[in-house]
């Protein structure tokens, strides 16, 4: 596989070739997978995908930030952030480059 950037189009093309769905159907499935994950996360649910990793949510409290250009202090509002923890299997494959 190339070392460029993989996008939705590459994923739908791969599904189209390997599963035999039409390009439009394959593209719909890619959108659908992402929509399901987005939906669960915006409902405050973690997304755990065995062999891949876990998308976790963290609630952060208010803190004081600083505009790096002007040095002016501004409050950073409390917010929910999403982090990803890769599975052991993914970590190993990336470390080994295969």
């Amino acid at each position: 596989m190339s070392t460029g950037t993989l996008t939705r189009a590459d994923l739908s093309d791969s599904i189209h070739r390997k599963v035999g769905l039409s390009k439009a159907e394959a593209s719909d499935m890619v959108e659908h997978i992402l929509a399901c994950m987005c939906g669960a996360l915006s409902d405050g649910e973690q997304v755990k995908l065995s062999g891949f990793g876990t998308f976790l949510l963290r609630d952060k409290g208010e803190r004081i930030g600083r505009n790096p250009k002007t040095g002016v202090e501004v409050p950073i509002t409390p917010r929910r952030v999403m982090t990803f923890r890769a599975s052991q299997a993914m970590r190993e494959r990336i470390a080994q480059g295969n």
């Binding site: 939705r8 590459d10 791969s14 996360l41 494959r93």
Partner: protein, 93 residues
């Protein structure tokens, strides 16, 4: 949500596909992402986020139980950054 729930949700919404096909599609989706990262590339899913890898330098670590020093070799690790739309969506209540 776990993988099997994702597969079930997709199967419920795509009744023209067999369950095994939906499973295969989900497998391909995540396998392609891992393969791309393992090959040294990145993955960009607009609105959701981007996966890339970062190189970590070798360092001297410590066994937390014994306090012994251990050499941790340089390695490449996966990294994810949530997209702008996703970050905003997490904060609408």
């Amino acid at each position: 949500m776990i993988r099997s729930e994702l597969v079930q949700m997709l199967a419920d919404d795509n009744t023209d596909l067999r369950h095994a096909e939906v499973e295969q599609i989900v497998d391909i989706f995540f396998e392609d992402i891992i393969a791309q990262l393992a090959a040294g590339g990145r993955v960009e899913l607009r609105g959701f986020g981007a996966f890339s890898t970062r190189d970590r330098k070798a360092r001297v670590g410590r066994n937390p139980r014994t306090g012994e020093s251990v050499d941790v070799p340089a390695k490449r690790v996966p990294f994810f950054k949530a997209g702008k739309a996703m970050r905003e969506r997490l904060n609408v209540s």
